[in-house]
């Protein structure tokens, strides 16, 4: 049984009357790369800040490396790397200043050569002040500062937001470098499904403050299915197919989003419902995510007009 490095129990947060996070239960084992995905304002930053003890929960609790989030000791914080939303750093400091500052907090862990390599690889000017760097460069510095102490647990809040494709790739390379080492765990939020697909082995989907999925990436990919069926007449009113999340109806067609339904069962149901034809629509991870988090009555914004 692998050790749990990140766990939450009914973690809830209200901002005044607004529910930002609704009873989140998570158990992330050591060595896991977990992609935390959700649409904008789904509750990702709230959840991460709660885990790091920067916010207080309205209810529930969280633990990092076995320590309660509201009382993270300095020794525990030393083992956790954190990349904040927007990569906020002290604007007046140069990269060299920041290195000295950060290094002081990791007297035994700091990997000088790794930091130097990253700065060189990113082609960052060591003596330039943070305020004179672009967003992308700031993100690179942020990543280097978080990785150089070789943290056991790396928590990143939307680390690639607003970054171009090349820098996003560098971020992923840095992540891969880290996870190659034994026992490192990464928990990162993102809305770039391609990145999540590359590096994660686990996916947690959050929508409007509620955890909608928490499983291995494979399971998610295999479970979320879209089936299109057409009928000679009105589609059946009763949809007693197992795993139905929601459906979209039109005059003679039906579109079903199913979770975890066997291809065989789909075929059987299509036959029993007398569908003229049916097909299991191919979806990539982004499609699956969109369908999984779309509201049931979601209509397409633009409709082609029939001539």
């Amino acid at each position: 049984m692998k050790e749990t490095v990140l766990e939450t129990y009914g973690l809830t947060k209200y901002y005044g009357g607004t529910l930002a996070l609704d009873h989140m239960d998570l158990k992330i084992p050591r060595g896991c790369i977990c992609g935390f995905v959700g649409r904008n304002a789904a509750g990702k930053t709230t959840a991460i800040k709660l885990m790091l003890g920067l916010l207080k929960p309205t209810d529930g609790s969280a633990k990092l490396l076995g320590c309660d989030s509201q009382n993270l000791t300095p020794a525990i914080r030393q083992r956790i790397g954190y990349v904040t939303e927007g990569h906020r750093l002290f604007r007046w400091m140069s990269i060299a200043n920041l290195e000295k500052f950060q290094r002081a907090f990791f007297p035994k862990q700091w990997d000088d050569s790794f930091f130097a390599e990253m700065i060189e690889y990113f082609e960052l000017p060591k003596n330039k002040k943070i305020k004179h760097l672009s967003n992308g460069q700031r993100a690179q510095v942020s990543l280097a500062l978080a990785l150089a102490p070789n943290p056991e647990l790396l928590v990143m809040d939307d680390p690639t937001l607003g970054l171009d494709a090349a820098i996003r790739r560098q971020f992923l390379e840095g992540m891969i470098q880290l996870i190659m080492q034994q026992g490192r765990t990464v928990f990162f939020s993102s809305h770039i499904l391609g990145d999540v697909e590359r590096v994660s082995d686990r996916i947690v989907v959050i929508d409007k403050g509620v955890i909608r999925a928490d499983c291995s990436l494979e399971q998610f990919r295999e479970a979320v299915k879209k089936v299109k069926l057409s009928f000679s007449d009105c589609p059946p009113a009763r949809l007693d197919i197992e795993g139905l999340l929601y459906c979209r109806r039109s005059e003679k067609e039906l579109e079903l989003i199913l979770i975890g339904t066997d291809d065989e069962k789909i075929k059987q149901w299509a036959d029993s419902a007398a569908a003229i034809k049916y097909s299991i629509v191919k979806m990539n991870l982004e499609d699956q995510f969109i369908e999984f988090t779309a509201p049931p009555n979601h209509k397409k914004l633009f409709q082609w007009e029939k001539n």
């Binding site: 790739r169 390379e173 891969i176 391609g194 697909e197 082995d201 494979e218 990919r221 982004e286």
Partner: protein
């Protein structure tokens, strides 16, 4: 022997499946021969910028299909064709793929005779490639 693997996230085909498909193709084309060593899991993962577990999974699937064998400590190697096993599911998948090709051919206006000729020609090409691949060794 250079093994060039490309993956694209964001396809409907999972990344591990893409790796499996490409390695399988390489074996079939003779670009990978029995005894050839596949790149180490970590090396390939770093190169492709993907999770090492994904590469490991691909290698597992290939091993279960009998295409490769893993020797702990040494690595993963292409296995002897004589030792490979196929099961009904594999044959089924093959049959389905053949159906796809036949459908396309018929839609393009080809007759079954034409299709058979085409098929034979492609088989010959593969056989030639395998021969030349063996010559290089």
């Amino acid at each position: 022997m250079a093994l060039w693997i490309q993956i694209l996230p964001g396809l409907d085909k999972p990344i591990y499946a893409q790796i499996v498909a490409q390695i399988s193709e390489n074996v079939a084309k003779g670009e990978l021969s029995p005894g050839d060593k596949l790149p180490a899991v970590r090396k390939l993962a770093a190169e492709l910028v993907i999770n090492p577990n994904t590469v490991a999974r691909a290698y597992n699937v290939l091993e279960q299909a009998g295409l490769v064998t893993t020797k702990t400590g040494s690595g993963t190697f292409i296995s002897d064709p004589k030792l490979r096993t196929t099961d009904a599911a594999d044959i089924n998948m093959l049959a389905e793929r053949m159906d796809t090709i036949i459908t396309r051919g018929i839609n393009l206006g080809l007759k079954s005779g034409d299709l058979v000729v085409m098929f034979k020609k492609r088989l010959e090409k593969f056989a030639n490639r395998q021969k030349s691949g063996k010559k290089k060794k």
